[in-house]
């Protein structure tokens, strides 16, 4: 089973996690820029964090044969703190880099005006840099937040296929599906979504535009939930190819739209899956 975890916060994890992930089949991942659990109070803290995402963390992952990518953004929580918002001006520096495969996590936390301002601004950046956007949906008032998210994406004139709306559940999946955006599911040990509920959603609506992630971070979470979901799919009668589609080809297809993946994708597969886009451009 080859696994691409499209949402995991490795800077909060240990090398034991990297080792266990590699053993479980994880060969690539995306680490979205987010909150650290402890609020930041200055722009410089963001800069050091972003530097780690495009530097040290990439090295740590490479030691375990894992291709590390990241997304860069001002997260919705800290979009409410005027000490943090000037980081928006520094984002373009990072959005031009290899391995930076989306703008994210953007979106809503408490649905404030400041969050909406930062969100809209960053959707514009995604357009400008031709990058996908990774959107976090709030824990509280999730359905309303998801609807508002889709309105803003529409207003920004971004193609829905360039957007993944993450942390979905049974209640929020359909509005995102109808909008034509990608659907992200975070499989957690006891909240958000579990492997069996995930399988039920896949049985109901199919495998198209679905990304399954562990969203593991500094909280109670498990970087091997992606693998557990693959196994639950097999147990429910899905084929190995179905599992490969959800856990590998889908994230490669979505983030491949950035033209910034750092993967070795075999040429045959690359031709079949990514005809016409710039993945691994200039490598031969």
């Amino acid at each position: 089973m080859r696994i691409f975890d499209p949402h995991i916060h490795m800077s909060s994890r240990t090398t034991d996690d990297y080792e266990a992930m590699a053993a479980a089949g994880v060969q690539a991942l995306v680490e979205p820029a987010f909150w650290l659990g402890q609020p930041r109070t200055s722009v410089d803290s963001f800069v050091d964090y972003f530097d780690a995402l495009v530097g040290w963390e990439r090295f740590r992952a490479s030691q375990f044969g894992i291709a590390h990518h990241c997304t860069i953004a001002l997260n919705p929580k800290e979009a409410n703190d005027p000490r943090c918002t000037p980081v928006l001006d520094l984002l373009p520096r990072y959005l031009a880099k290899d391995g930076v495969v989306a703008v994210g996590e953007v979106g809503f936390d408490s649905m404030t005006e400041d969050e909406e301002k930062a969100f809209s601004h960053q959707l514009e950046l995604a357009k400008e840099f031709a990058l996908p956007a990774l959107v976090h949906t709030p824990h509280r008032d999730k359905l309303a937040g998801t609807r508002r998210t889709l309105d803003l994406v529409d207003a920004a004139g971004i193609e829905p296929g360039m957007v993944v709306v993450d942390h979905l559940n049974e209640v929020t999946v359909d509005v995102v599906d109808e909008a034509g955006a990608w659907m992200g599911f975070s499989i957690y040990p006891d909240t958000k979504m579990d492997p069996d509920r995930m399988v039920a959603i896949l049985q109901r609506r199919g495998l198209d535009r679905v990304l399954v992630n562990s969203a593991a971070d500094w909280g109670k979470s498990d970087p091997l939930r992606t693998r557990a979901t693959g196994e639950a799919m097999l147990a429910a009668g899905f084929t190995e190819d179905d599992v490969d589609r959800v856990l590998w080809r889908n994230p490669v297809e979505f983030f491949g739209q950035s033209g910034r993946l750092l993967l070795d994708v075999p040429e045959a597969e690359q031709g079949a899956t990514f005809a016409g886009n710039s993945l691994l451009r200039g490598e031969r």
């Binding site: 530097d51 495009v54 530097g55 040290w56 990439r58 090295f59 992952a61 490479s62 030691q63 291709a67 590390h68 520096r93 031009a96 880099k97 290899d98 391995g99 033209g259 910034r260 750092l262 993967l263 070795d264 710039s278 691994l280 451009r281 200039g282 490598e283």
Partner: protein
Amino acid sequence: MNESLLAERCAEIAADHTRIRTRFPAAAREIGRTPGTSPEPGAERVEDDVRVRLLVALRDGLAGEADALSAEVHDLYRFGDADERRAVLLGLGELGDAIGDRAVDLLHDALRTNDPRLVAAAMGTYAARLDPAAWRQAVLKCLFVGVPLRLVADLDRRADDELRRMVADYAGERRAAGREVPADALALLSEHAHPHTSRET
């Protein structure tokens, strides 16, 4: 590697040095890179060669303007990812005379990291500008983080008795812990009688 595009980019930067700010980060995907990522220090990578060529173009475009060259190089490093920083460090050897000692702080920054690819890149010919104490610490760090000493420029000429004492202590510590002493460390110690060492002391 797309040679003609590289030549075009070099000409562009030589004519307007500010262009390197966008061309340098994008160079790997636009001009050429070795597939995948590797934790190995000193690995030959196409994108490194490409970016060093861009730095040479920057040097030529800013001939006689050492401070401006230094400012541009510092920004490329400050806002660079690990690949870009490595290329800046590798390029310093080519910028040596033009930039003087102005970029020695970048070596110190790289040598503070634990990324062996950055540590290795900091130990090229430009490291001649590190003072003896910093240079010895850097060689010892190479042994600690697994940078092969063949990547250390001028090692034979610059290794002195003080470095050998430090490496001998390090070897002793390894043996006391029942751990293997890296072959590079042993080789350095066995060069004791080498005729052209100890120039620094």
